[in-house]
């Protein structure tokens, strides 16, 4: 629909119905957003927007007798190793070309938003940390920031810097897994081993700090659960010293690898406008050329005082997303470095006995402290009635927490805006009219975490 659309048409426009019925030949690998089998609806813009022909691909798709229709339905997952969990895709194939895709999710749904309503605000982080299990600190941070905003409190300086340190290290480890699995899916198996090796170093530091490799429950409303362990500077320094050389190695391994380039360049393309329309955030959005980062747009925990760049891609393909993650790792290392340098002395949580428990030593001496401790761990603390939405930039995009309190000790409603959940909507767009062999590369570059999708 290259001509302009009037407002009336926009409202009545028949969504999801365009294109792929009449496949047109395409130049593989060349700016596939320019001309495709799909037509643009919806937004008046220079660049074209693709939509899928009806998201509905039927299980019971049957050919009519004697028709020359050669489409077939391929069911991929939920037990497919390269779907990164339990993602199921119904793919409609025309020969080797993917026409339509329907992501089917919910296989990992555990009702965490319902669970959140029976947990106190103090217990909340232990629930949300299990959502995006590759970026648990971001989940905890997002929830804690929402609770703190309703409480109207500000955490101490040290707690803020610690939060930045941990979340940015977490971003590095998460991106390392994304690159590792991306490599594995395309056949660069050594990339998988390297990625997990470096991640292990960061997880070892997390384990030393929080006691757990994942699901930390460390960032809590009011601050953090504990202080950094002795010798943390040395650990972080080691990570920062090791990584740059290793990342140069990966780049050598992949960027100079013709097979890798063949399989990633021009594959899984999505344009900036498509990203906006489908609420795609994070590296996928930035790889499409939009310099949008919540750390810049809506800063949290004092991230605006750190120096870092927001890398942006050009083509929005698998290769750009891979490059972008490498750049983001380097930028996150810059932030970690600054956080380490400026780490102020002081409390790691707010000194308010109604919100955070007293120090362990005080409990033996003070009746007051014992009471406060008991109250917080049995019934939690109350949060004034209100509602708020807080978002942080997780490694996958905008991770939001919509929190509604009724003035009690438990949330009335806790909703997580999961980046992987929204980003999955990009799959039908990215995969339309591409080769079926590119499917795994595309999924991997999107880096969905099914715990985050299904919650």
């Amino acid at each position: 629909m290259s001509d302009t659309t009037t407002e009336e048409e926009l409202e009545t426009v028949d969504m999801w119905v365009s294109g792929t019925e009449e496949p047109e030949p395409r130049d593989w690998g060349i700016a596939s957003t320019d001309e495709g089998a799909q037509k643009m609806h919806l937004i008046e813009s220079e660049s074209r927007m693709r939509e899928q022909t009806g998201t509905v691909v039927h299980d019971d798709f049957v050919h009519e007798e004697g028709s020359e229709d050669e489409r077939m339905l391929l069911n991929m997952g939920p037990q497919h190793p390269s779907t990164h969990g339990v993602l199921r895709l119904q793919i409609e194939l025309d020969g080797e070309i993917v026409r339509r895709t329907r992501p089917i999710i919910g296989y990992l749904h555990t009702g965490m938003e319902k669970t959140a309503e029976v947990l106190t605000f103090h217990q909340g982080p232990t629930n949300v940390t299990r959502m995006d299990y590759l970026a648990p600190f971001h989940n905890e941070l997002c929830f804690s920031l929402a609770v703190e905003r309703l409480l109207g409190i500000e955490v101490p300086e040290r707690a803020q810097v610690m939060r930045i340190l941990l979340t940015e290290l977490n971003r590095i480890s998460s991106h390392l897994v994304a690159m590792a699995t991306n490599g594995l899916d395309i056949g660069a198996v050594s990339m998988m081993i390297y990625g997990f090796r470096e991640r292990e170093q960061i997880l070892a530091f997390f384990e030393k700090t929080t006691g757990l490799r994942m699901n930390h429950n460390f960032i809590r409303p009011g601050g953090l659960a504990a202080d950094l362990p002795p010798g943390w500077r040395q650990d972080v320094r080691e990570i920062l010293d090791t990584l740059p050389g290793r990342i140069a190695e990966y780049d050598d391994l992949l960027r100079n690898n013709p097979i890798w380039l063949e399989r990633t360049k021009g594959v899984g393309v999505i344009s900036a406008d498509e990203c906006r329309a489908y609420a795609i955030t994070g590296p996928t959005l930035r790889a499409a050329g939009v310099p949008w980062d919540l750390r810049r747009a809506f800063p949290y925990s004092g991230i605006e005082t750190y120096e870092f760049d927001v890398p942006v891609g050009e083509n929005g393909d698998v290769y750009d997303r891979y490059r972008l993650r490498i750049e983001e790792i380097l930028q996150s290392m810059k932030i970690v470095e600054q956080a380490m340098e400026r780490m102020p002395k002081g409390d790691y949580r707010i000194d308010d006995r109604k919100i955070t428990p007293p120090p362990r030593a005080r409990i033996d001496e003070s009746m007051e402290a014992l009471i406060h401790h008991f109250k917080i761990f049995t019934e939690g603390f109350t949060v004034p009635a209100g509602e708020t939405y807080v978002a942080v930039e997780s490694p996958r995009g905008e991770l939001g927490c919509y929190l509604v309190s009724e003035g009690g000790g438990k949330p009335w409603r806790m909703h997580t805006r999961a980046p992987s959940f929204a980003n999955l909507q990009a799959l039908p767009i990215m995969m339309a009219d591409s080769l079926v062999a590119d499917t795994v590369a595309t999924i991997a570059s999107l880096d969905p975490v099914m715990g985050d999708v299904d919650r």
Binding site: E7, L10, E11, V13, M15, W16, L42, I43, E51, G54, T55, V56, H58, I105, G106, H109, G111, E113, K114, T115, V118, R149, L150, G152, R276, A277, Y278, A279, I280, T281, V290, W292, A297, F298, E379, T382, V383, P384, A385, G386, E387, T388, Y389, A391, E398, G400, Y402, V404, E406, G407, G408, G409, R413, H415, R417, F421, A422, L424, Q425, D454
Partner: protein, 221 residues
């Protein structure tokens, strides 16, 4: 499934689920009941203290401060603008939900980040709030659009024709709350199984009442 409407099996709310709904005929006055939200059972906190003061600085404003929002406010006179914990929130009547969305997109809100719902069961006269989070990249601005709906089959116009990215989120809200988004191209369950009865995130859907298969398995054979 090319029908826009949900199938009867998935869409029909079971009798028991909605029977406790306080939304009676005649009380469903969205604009009056929604903002103040008269609590039918004002709850004291666990200590028995009176209810804590609201952090939500609900100061109804005739006109929002921001220029872009002011343009929207002029176009929609029935919308009520508030600031909740420092964020712009607008309440619109349910029938204007999509209309407002279209105007908002033209005003620069290119992204609909999220659509969700809140169940005010026995707290408010109009049972559900449908909440859409809008984001503008060009103006670096957020706006939360809230609308109140009640009834046995709460229905609001869908935002998916305006932002296709709202599609998954609206399916989730339908799946969890039974909110029907009129005009959604594929309103089916997304997280729960297709044959699930009831809407899990409603307040009258009990936690842990699902029979587990292995409990009865010894009786079989």
């Amino acid at each position: 499934m090319t029908d826009d409407k949900p199938t009867a099996g998935a869409g029909a709310a079971p009798e028991g689920v909605t029977s406790g709904d306080d939304t009676g005929a005649g009380t469903d006055n969205a604009s009056a009941a929604s903002v103040a939200g008269p609590a039918l059972h004002p709850g004291d906190d666990l200590d028995g203290n009176p209810k804590a003061a609201t952090a939500e600085e609900v100061a109804p404003r005739a006109v929002p401060d921001n220029e872009i929002l002011r343009g929207l406010a002029e176009a929609f006179e029935e919308a009520e603008w508030t600031i909740s914990a420092g964020q712009d929130v607008v309440r619109v009547p349910a029938e204007q939900f999509a209309e407002f969305g279209l105007a908002a997109r033209e005003a620069g809100f290119e992204v609909c980040v999220d659509v969700t719902a809140v169940d005010w069961y026995r707290k408010r006269r109009t049972r559900f709030d449908v909440v859409a989070n809008l984001l503008s990249h060009q103006h670096v601005l957020r706006l939360r659009v809230v609308t109140a709906v009640g009834g046995d089959e709460p229905t609001v116009p869908s935002l998916t024709p305006i932002w296709p990215g709202a599609g998954f989120a609206e399916r989730e809200a339908y799946d969890m709350f039974g909110i029907v988004f009129d005009g959604h191209p594929d309103l089916t369950r997304i997280l729960m199984p297709d044959d699930w009865v009831g809407f899990p995130l409603r307040k009258d859907f009990a936690v842990g009442s699902v029979p587990v298969q292995f409990k009865d398995s010894h009786k079989v054979t």
